[in-house]
């Protein structure tokens, strides 16, 4: 029988399939089912600093009628923050008492002081590891790439200074030199990097002439970008990598592992097919390993990464050779 154990989040996981941070992982009942389905770990729904700001705006609007003393609302974001943190701490504690798989806290902040504050609290609450959800969309025209990157590096450094549990990061592909950023980030002392964050995307309704939300779930075809960068960076990074986005079945999970990922994070498929998708992926991986006579994940992990003489395939961007002379 194939052994599916692997290491990510600085922890031993019994399966490489991890429930990614999503609304589902903010609910204790679902977390329990995720563990029962055989997930290697669960990353709790992210605690967003930005959400606290949104809640504050709602509260300020509601309170206008009461004409409360401005002094009362001046620091109300701290009240909302405390409420959010306390709820999150309760979720960590309850999840820890209910499931036997690692419980990873996920946090996404705007300022580095808040990252460190949140990280300390989540560690104190008993989280096994922390995933920093680094998600700035690089659309601020007043900031150059260095400023954004520096912010990320400083944040990671500060968080590592204040917590002792493993810290991983989840990043987007939006960097001017993604490979180098992953490489440098992997050497900071973090326990892993997850590629890539999937953002909310706008779409356009041409009939109504309005902006709409694109499909919130990933499709099975979206795995190629994380696959490429996992393949390129797994042999070059100083920490393990995990892949996410578009991983809906065992086949894609195996591709990520072959490219060098130590784990895969799944979310959309849990909504589309139910939590049982985790056990199906586990079963599919085990079946394939048995067929291929692999006893453990390490037997084949990274077998098809860039270092195994696959550089051309990973780094080729143009189609000319492939399509040349085929009449396209």
């Amino acid at each position: 029988m194939a052994n599916l154990s692997t290491r990510f989040f600085g922890l031993e996981l019994k399966s490489p399939v991890v429930a990614a941070s999503c609304s589902m992982t903010g609910n204790l009942d679902q977390i329990r089912k995720i563990a029962q389905a055989g997930a290697g770990a669960v990353v709790l729904k992210s605690l967003f600093e930005e959400e606290i700001y949104v809640q504050l705006q709602e509260e300020l609007n509601e309170r206008k009628e009461l004409a409360a003393d401005p002094e009362y609302l001046d620091y109300f974001d701290y009240v909302i923050k405390e409420e959010n943190l306390n709820k999150y701490i309760s979720l960590i504690r309850e999840a820890k008492s209910e499931v036997d798989i690692p419980v990873v806290a996920s946090v996404s902040c705007i300022s580095s002081s808040e990252w460190t504050l949140f990280a300390r609290k989540l560690q104190d609450a008993g989280a096994d590891a922390i995933e920093l959800n680094l998600f700035i969309i690089p659309s601020n025209l007043d900031k150059n790439h260095e400023a954004n990157e520096q912010f990320y590096f400083e944040t990671v450094k500060k968080v590592l200074e204040v917590v002792t549990i493993p810290v991983t990061i989840k990043i987007s592909p939006y960097f001017s030199n993604l490979g180098r950023v992953i490489k440098d980030m992997s050497a900071t002392g973090i326990a892993g990097i997850t590629l890539f964050n999937r953002f909310y995307s706008p779409d356009i309704d041409i009939e109504k002439g309005s902006l709409i939300s694109a499909d919130v779930f990933s499709s099975e075809k979206e795995y190629l970008q994380p696959l490429r960068w996992t393949g390129i960076m797994a042999p070059n990074a100083d920490c393990p990598l995990a892949a996410t986005t578009g991983i809906h079945n065992a086949e894609t999970a195996l591709k990520m592992l072959l490219a060098g990922a130590s784990a895969v994070q799944v979310a959309s498929v849990l909504y589309q097919e139910g939590i049982s998708a985790i056990s199906k992926i586990n079963e599919g991986i085990a079946r394939w390993m048995d067929t291929k006579k692999y006893g453990s994940i390490t037997d084949f992990k990274g077998k098809l990464s860039i270092q195994a003489d696959h550089a051309v395939a990973y780094e080729r961007f143009q189609f000319m050779t492939y399509f040349g002379g085929k009449g396209f």
Partner: protein, 490 residues
């Protein structure tokens, strides 16, 4: 109301007064300046008032600036609807006791309001001078204080008339401005009113929160005496819900309750090191000094007297705390506030007084961590610079962190004055009472009636935070609402 005001305005003496000076001459007069004690002298005393009050001559001259408008918009700006032109015109004609009487028609605490109300945001903001002439408004607050002080000092204190007793007992819980306004109105309507106070002193935030250099306790006591003379009973050291339950009080004959238990739960920032010795809430700091005489060496109540005192916050409570620290001997008394000076919620006058007294303002800065010596006493705070981003729903620009801008400041006392949360005692004693997620009691905004029909509420416990005058307005509305409810329930 409009008819009543019109009738009052048409009284012969008002007409005569209006005709004595042309409006052009009235509007040409500059606004009076409030005499103040010298900053260097006043910082030596915790209990000496900064504002010294107007003399008769200046008060009458200022009153003559008022044009006795046909449409007195100033009244709309007053949460307790004081007949402002009537009291001001009484001052102009020299009938100061009549002016005080007018104030007491609708306000139980004129000497208090004249000192601590943010008139610049209320009646004075709605004055014709402000709205139409774009000039300094009539100094309504100064005049209110003048009338109340004159009456007190004259010894001829009028006691408002009360209706014959109707045999019904009602209770007010808490003895701050909301309760006192409620009690004043209910006693006038003929109810037996008892005010229950958890502490040993009556007055609530007026006593424990506001320092004597802004509002001397003896001024509050005179207003309280007046309520006593009207028949209001005060019970000290009495925690409703603990000392006696609501059921106990009902058995004693109380048929309705007004809850104004305030916001006595201090808030902290929950940042690293905030539990070190030497870091305390403004509630604790001010209560020790204001209510428990900690500044007086003859009293046993201790208070930390730092050399480098940082006060976090930008409201009146922060100003009160930092100015108290200065009076307790701080060499460096600092305000640490994350927005700019213009966006501080404190009254402009308080900020101005603080500046005169040598308070250091460190704006656009926010604490992120505290450090302590080997004994656990705070000795340093780390602040980070902030810049202002887009305006938020309050209309003020949002403070945004400037990354990499941390600096350390030496401190030995830190007072956290970032607001308070509602007192949880009453809601916890009444599980069926509807409260918001923030612990405020939910009421009908007109009648102030809660989800428990015989229970009304107002002030901080409803709004989260309220100015003295807004709390008083709540108390008056609750009195009207309760009277209606009890009358209809008969």
């Amino acid at each position: 109301m409009q008819e009543y005001l019109k009738m009052e305005r048409e009284q012969a003496w008002r007409i005569e007064l209006r005709n004595q000076i042309k409006n052009k001459e009235r509007t040409a007069l500059p606004r009076v300046k409030m005499p103040e004690m010298d900053p260097q002298e006043r910082i030596c005393y915790q209990d000496r008032e900064v504002n010294l009050g107007l003399d008769v001559e200046n008060a009458r001259r200022e009153a003559s600036r008022c044009m006795d408008c046909v449409n007195p918009t100033c009244i709309e700006g007053c949460p307790v609807s004081i007949n402002i032109p009537k009291f001001v015109k009484n001052i102009e004609r020299g009938e100061f006791l009549e002016a005080a009487k007018t104030l007491k028609e609708t306000s139980a605490l004129p000497a208090v309001c004249g000192r601590v109300c943010p008139q610049e945001k209320q009646c004075e903001a709605s004055c014709f001078y402000t709205l139409k002439l774009k000039k300094d408004p009539v100094a309504i607050g100064y005049l209110e204080r003048f009338a109340a002080d004159y009456e007190r000092e004259s010894g001829q204190i009028s006691v408002p008339e009360v209706a014959p007793k109707n045999g019904m007992k009602v209770a007010a819980i808490g003895s701050g401005p909301a309760s006192l306004a409620f009690a004043g109105d209910m006693i006038k309507l003929g109810y037996e009113v008892t005010v229950f106070e958890a502490l040993h002193e009556i007055g609530g935030v007026l006593k424990y929160g506001i320092p004597e250099f802004r509002l001397p306790n003896h001024i509050v006591d005179v207003e309280l005496d007046n309520l006593k003379k009207m028949g209001v009973r005060f019970e000290r050291n009495f925690i409703v819900g603990r000392t006696a339950t609501f059921e106990d009080l009902k058995e004693e004959g109380y048929c309705a309750f007004f809850v104004a238990s305030g916001a006595g739960l201090p808030r902290f920032m929950n940042i690293p090191g905030e539990n070190y010795n030497g870091i305390l809430s403004s509630n604790e700091y001010l209560t020790r000094v204001n209510l428990m005489n900690a500044a007086n060496d003859e009293f046993d109540t201790p208070v930390l007297k730092g050399k480098n005192v940082a006060v976090v916050g930008g409201g009146n409570t922060a100003m009160d705390s930092v100015r108290t620290a200065k009076r307790l001997g701080a060499a460096r008394a600092m305000i640490i506030y994350r927005r700019s000076r213009e966006e501080m919620p404190a009254r402009v006058e308080e900020v101005h007084h603080a500046e005169e007294e040598g308070i250091e303002f460190i704006n656009l800065a926010n604490p992120v961590e505290y450090f302590a010596d080997e004994k656990g006493r705070v000795n340093r705070m780390r602040i980070q610079r902030m810049e202002l981003g887009e305006p938020d729903a309050s209309g003020r620009r949002r403070p945004v962190v400037v990354e990499g801008s941390e600096t350390d400041i030496d401190v030995d006392v830190v007072v956290v004055a970032i607001g308070v949360s509602p007192n949880p005692l009453i809601p916890s004693a009444l599980p069926e009472l509807k409260v918001s997620r923030w612990g405020t009691i939910e009421v009908d905004p007109e009648s102030m009636q809660s989800s428990i029909p015989e229970l009304f509420a107002g002030g901080d416990i409803v709004r989260g935070g309220a100015t003295v005058i807004l709390a008083m307005g709540d108390g008056r509305r609750a009195a009207a609402g309760m009277h209606r409810y009890l009358t209809e329930s008969k």
